[in-house]
């Protein structure tokens, strides 16, 4: 068994503390779109607990795969065949939406990827993944927030700020740049005109609280949009459940799709720490992957015409052992996948410098060896979507990472 493993403890519901500055996106004028009519968005999904990349996107063409991953290895045969991506890789059958997007060149995979972190602590691994720093211990700001800060003053994307979806603001988007929080709510809405009366009182006595409350009510209304029944946005499950993931994406999509809504967003989904009974084509991990697939579908639906300018990236702190353990699960490992989806993605590709799965090819003889740096992928997306320079990316957004070059041409 591995060390330092804690069962994720998601607070089931709601909430979001926006880290800091308040902003008034609800009141901004609608800007004319840029001349090329591109209006890019970037959505970051953090999969906490360490996703088994070899079960999400299986190297079914690798002769050593089955012997390592045993009964939970994906296969192109059998009752639950994996969905082929190319001649070598196949995606978990729980992800038909991703497979469809891949075929339509709107989804891609970067395989055998890892951050610069090489230990096996979830906490430290997530800190590195989300803070964007080279090592653990930086827990105040995340790379996505610093990317907003790195944009030129007055830049539209920076002005519109970010969106944080989840039980608490994910580290990746914490920081000085303005962030709006949203999550499905579980409490009954106040009856009558209570909200209006409280707002009126705040406007007379406490303008700061008035602004905050007004924005909270606006965000909730926008996320609900045209759904007549507010109950439709009651939590359907935590962010470690398929229904909860789908719902989080559904609400977030409405906020992000708005002309004056945030252009970057962060969500955190829990539950990927599959030490025991992980399952393969079906089972625990497949259920979670189905939730992630549902989130992709909700973003595609909810973003409407803005889908074509959107990039979604799903990242996790590290991978899992290549060989299954004695409890039909996998332990903390190294290399894993980065999943990319969205109309902006130059898809239909599994990007991998495949290291192989023979004992000598494994990292420390146990993990998929990392041959791509997750930061290169993220830098590539930030550069292509928002025009951030390699210098800003290597210095400010991902400190001390100048040697990690942005991966080119991820965006169509």
């Amino acid at each position: 068994m591995s060390l330092l493993c804690e069962t994720p403890n998601p607070s089931r519901r709601a909430v979001l503390m926006t880290g800091g500055a308040l902003f008034a996106w609800a009141y901004l004028p609608r800007f004319a779109r840029a001349a090329d009519n591109r209006d890019p968005r970037l959505i970051v999904i953090v999969l906490r607990g360490a996703l088994d990349g070899l079960s999400a996107v299986g190297p079914v063409g690798d002769p050593d795969y089955v012997s390592l991953h045993g009964d939970i290895a994906l296969s192109l045969d059998g009752p639950h065949p994996a969905l082929p991506l190319d001649g070598f890789f196949a995606v978990n059958p729980a992800m038909p939406v991703f497979a469809r997007l891949f075929k339509a060149n709107q989804a891609a995979v970067v395989h055998a990827a890892a951050t610069g972190y090489r230990e096996r602590s979830h906490f430290d691994g997530q800190d590195v993944l989300e803070s964007g720093f080279a090592g653990p211990g930086h827990v105040a700001t995340g790379w996505l927030n610093r990317a907003l800060e790195g944009l030129p003053a007055g830049d539209r994307v920076a002005t519109l700020g970010g969106l944080a979806v989840g039980p608490s603001t994910p580290l990746v988007i914490r920081g000085a740049a303005p962030v709006l929080g949203w999550a499905p709510q579980s409490l009954p809405a106040p009856a009558g005109d209570l909200a209006a009366r409280v707002l009126d009182l705040y406007q007379h006595r406490d303008p700061m609280l008035a602004v905050a409350l007004q924005k909270g009510l606006d965000a909730d209304r926008m996320a609900l949009d045209d759904q007549m029944d507010a109950n439709a946005m009651k939590p359907k499950g935590g962010f470690d459940s398929a229904a909860g993931m789908r719902q989080a994406a559904q609400g977030a999509a409405k906020l992000i799709a708005a002309d004056d809504g945030p252009r970057v967003a962060a969500l955190a989904f829990d539950g990927w720490d599959t030490h025991v009974n992980e399952g393969g084509a079906t089972g625990r991990l497949a259920t979670l992957l189905g939730g992630l697939d549902g989130a992709f579908e909700e973003f595609e639906k909810g973003l409407g015409e803005r889908w074509k300018d959107t990039a979604i990236v799903a990242i996790t702190e590290f991978g899992r052992t290549a060989r299954i353990n004695g409890t039909v699960g996998t332990d903390h490992g190294t290399g894993t996948v980065v999943l990319l989806a969205g109309g902006a993605i130059k898809g239909g590709r599994v990007i991998a410098d495949w290291p192989g799965l023979k004992p000598a090819q494994l990292y420390e003889q146990r993990d998929l060896a990392p041959t791509s740096d997750v930061r290169a992928v993220l830098k590539g997306l930030l550069a292509d979507q928002f025009g951030l320079s390699a210098a800003v990316l290597g210095d400010k957004v991902f400190p001390e990472s100048g040697a990690v070059k942005p991966m080119r041409d991820l965006v169509a």
Binding site: N9, S11, R12, R13, A14, V15, L16, M17, T18, G19, G20, A21, L22, F123, D127, V139, P167, S168, T169, L171, L180, G181, W182, A183, Q185, S186, L187, P188, A189, P190, A191, G192, D193, L194, A195, R197, V198, D200, L201, Y202, H204, R205, D206, M208, L209, A212, L213, Q214, K215, G216, L217, D218, A219, D220
Partner: protein, 205 residues
């Protein structure tokens, strides 16, 4: 090697010696004094108050009781306007004290409120704990959730005698005329109580 000083190897004693030196380091006094003053006085506490507390911390060799007494003696602790927002834990406790334990008298609902407000009991997101600054809690989502909580608590309150009397009991001396008026004009006792639980004088401290 720590802060320029080398500690000879030798089991527990080595760590204890290092910890003692860290505890007596001037930066520690400053850090603790700032955290104290931030919690009780203001997000950005007056430097004079922090300096005074740091001095007491150093002089008393880290006696938190002495620090607390010094805080009470500080004029700034009494004169600073109520600008801090109650943290979720403080708010939920205050709501319970004001409106009662709820229908079942079990903590589940209160714990759920804390989760929803982003301060799950004893589960901070990192070792540095929850934020102690107002702008971390006075967020759009946070205030909207407080409104929902105030309404739920008011609806569940068994016997609301008179919201105006409750105002006097809970926030009497600090209540503004606008708050008094808003509560007096409420359309129901439940709404009056919910307004009281949302009043700036109830949210801030």
């Amino acid at each position: 090697m720590l802060l320029g000083k080398t500690y000879p190897a030798g089991g527990m004693g080595q760590a204890e010696a290092a910890l003692n030196d860290i505890a007596r380091h001037p930066a520690t006094a400053q850090h603790i004094a700032t955290a104290f003053a931030r919690h009780f006085i203001a997000d950005d506490p007056p430097p004079a108050a922090v300096a005074r507390l740091a001095k007491v911390f150093a002089k008393s060799d880290g006696d938190l009781r002495a620090l607390a007494m010094a805080l009470i003696d500080l004029p700034e602790a009494w004169s600073t306007p109520m600008m801090k927002l109650r943290s979720p834990l403080e708010y939920v406790v205050a709501v319970r004290r004001a409106a009662g334990p709820g229908p079942t008298n079990v903590p589940n609902q209160s714990l759920g409120w804390l989760n929803t407000l982003g301060e799950p009991l004893w589960q901070p997101p990192g070792p540095n704990g929850f934020s102690d600054r107002t702008d971390s809690w006075a967020s759009a989502e946070g205030m909207k959730v407080r409104l929902d909580i105030a309404w739920q608590a008011a609806r569940q309150a068994g016997d609301i005698s008179n919201p105006n009397d409750m105002l006097d009991a809970l926030i009497g001396p600090s209540a503004s005329p606008e708050t008094r008026q808003a509560i007096a004009r409420a359309e129901s006792k439940q709404q009056g109580l919910a307004l009281l639980l949302m009043a700036p004088e109830f949210q801030r401290r």
